[in-house]
Symmetry: C2
Subunit: 435 residues, 2 copies
């Protein structure tokens, strides 16, 4: 089976067995070829619309001779990037869509790695033949972002200077840095201009960053359930999560690679964050005050309410697929995100953005509330851009971007069809990018 | 100086030096005399409207011969209660108001214990001559609730069976249990019927419990920023706070009295909870994305944003005045609170409540949102009760019940003046209590 090297965090493998025999920079496939994903692989019979079996790929994009210059001032090399693609890149290379994942996501956005994979990619409901991102029409790319723990260089990677994991010696990375790496990947795939960049939550931050950092390189931007800058409340929740990790005695300053990982702290961080992904209404509907075992209170400190049990499960499951140091870095990258930090206003900061925009919010999202998304839409409109803003009525809270598949599909599939038509007819896109 | 014994949590004293020489059940003052607070004590010249110097009192209300029967089935004795009073009880004993405190509060609600006390009681802005609870008219009582760590019997108290602190061997207490103890105190003070019971947040839960458990014993109820049952989201936040304490290696199953207390876990619990006390808007206004030291990112994990610094401070300060085991018990008491648990509906559960109600919510409170308070108001109205419901427009979030002093004063002072007039005129109160 074609199974490229995946550097798993800590001592576990997230999406496949570790291959210690493979040299760190080895490329088992030629990732420079914008290959279609294996569309003739057997599609699961019970999965109509699935992209079927997919092969993760890994590429070295920055080398010691050509290192990555980070916003923090540090220089990083090598930088490996894990990515997957689905569908076929057209001859004109005009149908590529980049999906940016959120905090705990990865490059595996659709399909399955093996026929017996228990779960498909994280946005499988949206990507595949006939789905919102219809792989019969579009070539979809998703990469694990810089600083991640799912194959792309991050705190769990081996620091060539020491031969040990970077851990907290990894330099701080920003959303801008992540996007620079993604742009290098897209370039390496031979794509000059993306049809669209799409992402929810922290993925939406990357979309906004794409639109201002590489305005020529995308026809459209689809930021979902996101914000142009992390709020004080968002920073506060991130910080208590980080403190939970720091407080775990197993964290040991980040150097836990040789010992038990700080699972308790990481689980706690995830539990805190998970509450912010749901709405009060959805929690009430899902759990209410239901008890786990009986209809009477136990009057002890064991998990008693269903909602407690659910949170424990979410926290514990997260530690099986995520790395604590990575969590620290990624939340900091979110906290640093502020599109208008160096500008007199959000409007001015967005002036370079030339893409057509489809901005989507969810009514019950209180982590990145509709007002945040609308603020971006208004600033773009004030700049004369082509903007569609939709606030989808939903009780799912922030998680709606993963759950409101029908609504998202309706919006996005129509938007993309028109977009591709415009791009192919060489209709003029909204405004020219200012020089 | 008259300074009664205060059992401080752990090895620290919250409101005064420990007096180890005093026998645990000693009463240095006669708490059975409904004494006015020391109104002729020198009022601080810079504090118009202050009740001045006050003396905390402590009383034994349940004894081994007459123990407290708890909802969980356990029996508890002795039960000491720490309390304070302000103003004079009228000859007719018809002007007494009980204030119920919230999670981290105590009996010291107004005035100062010593002239050099750096801070007055926690609701000093509301209680004193000319204030909302005008001590020239009303006799105000506040006690530390059962299970607390500010003088009333709780997990930090000595278990007579072992001679050691109860710690997690303390029985689980509920809001109902707390109210039963308060009722015993009121009775001991010679008060048959309170003019009003008032409280915000968890204090409001106690007010609602009073109204249904002792309907004859109060003319009016003033629940503020509260709920008739803890929501799934509320339980979730409480549970992550408890897990933060459990995860602290210093917690040691609760038996930390002889070692360093689990301050890091307790601070983390407080930081999480503190976010829920503020609104996104107030956090934005107060901190935004302001940095602590400079105008550029530090790109490290030290506290960098003002909001982080503030949360750390709040967490750390809390550990200096609160006990971790107590935090576990009190949050469980809140989680268990569900007025309608044993009834077909909230309306039916409130049928016994005979008091006149002033219910107050704050528009930006997302911990106990206005909808929760309105639900209680509607159920009471459906029962034909005399109900005033006010949703105060405020950006302060849940903390508004401590901060919106002007609005609260306007509402409450008028309500109480009318109430006292009605009670003294022996106007018939709304409905008779059903037998």
């Amino acid at each position: 089976m074609a199974w490229v090297e995946v550097r798993a965090f800590g001592r576990r493998s997230a999406i496949g067995p570790l291959d210690h025999s493979a040299p760190p920079r080895c490329r088992r496939s030629d990732p420079m070829t914008p290959n279609s994903h294996n569309n003739d692989a057997p599609v699961q019979p019970d999965e109509p619309g699935s992209v079927g079996l997919v092969t993760p790929r890994r590429v070295e994009l920055f080398t010691p001779e050509d290192p990555l210059h980070l916003e923090c001032g540090a220089v990083l090399a090598p930088v490996h990037v894990q990515y997957e693609t689905y569908g076929e890149l057209s001859a004109a290379r005009d149908n590529a869509i980049l999906v940016c994942h959120a905090l705990s996501g990865d490059a595996h956005v659709a399909g399955r790695h093996r026929p017996d994979d228990p779960k498909p990619g994280w946005w499988d409901s949206m990507i595949g033949p006939g789905k919102a991102f219809d792989t019969r029409r579009y070539f979809v790319v998703c990469s694990n972002f810089l600083g991640g723990c799912k194959g792309t260089t991050g705190p769990t990677s081996i620091d060539p200077a020491t031969g040990k994991p970077y851990a907290t010696r990894f330099p701080m990375v920003t959303i801008h840095d992540m996007v620079v790496v993604q742009q290098r990947l897209i370039e390496a795939l031979g794509i000059r201009r993306l049809l669209a960049v799409v992402g929810g939550s922290m993925g939406g931050m990357q979309v906004l960053e794409w639109a201002v950092s590489f305005p020529d390189a995308l026809a459209a931007a689809i930021p979902i359930a996101t914000t142009h800058r992390m709020s004080a409340q968002g920073i506060a929740f991130d910080e208590v999560g980080r403190q939970a990790i720091f407080a775990d005695p197993n964290w040991r300053g980040g150097d836990y690679a040789d010992g038990p990982p700080p699972d308790r702290g990481l689980a706690l961080a995830r539990m805190i964050a998970h509450i912010t992904y749901l709405s009060e209404k959805s929690m009430h509907r899902k759990f209410g005050r239901d008890l786990r075992h009986r209809d009477r209170y136990a009057y002890n400190f064991e998990e008693e309410f269903q909602v407690e049990s659910y949170l424990h499960y979410q926290g514990s499951r997260f530690t099986q697929r995520f790395d604590a140091n990575t969590y620290l870095y990624i939340t900091k990258a979110m906290d640093y995100f502020d599109l208008s930090a160096d500008y007199p206003s959000l409007r001015v900061s967005l002036r370079r953005a030339a893409a057509k925009f489809l901005l989507i919010a969810f009514s019950s999202d209180w982590l990145f509330p509709p007002a945040d998304v609308r603020e971006v839409a208004n600033a773009l409109r004030a700049n004369g851009r082509d903007v569609t803003y939709v606030n989808i009525e939903s009780d799912y809270g922030h998680d709606a971007f993963l759950l409101e598949v029908d609504e998202l599909t309706k919006l996005i599939s129509g938007f993309l069809r028109n977009l591709l038509r415009e791009v192919r007819a060489e209709l003029p896109l909204p405004d020219d990018v200012p020089p």
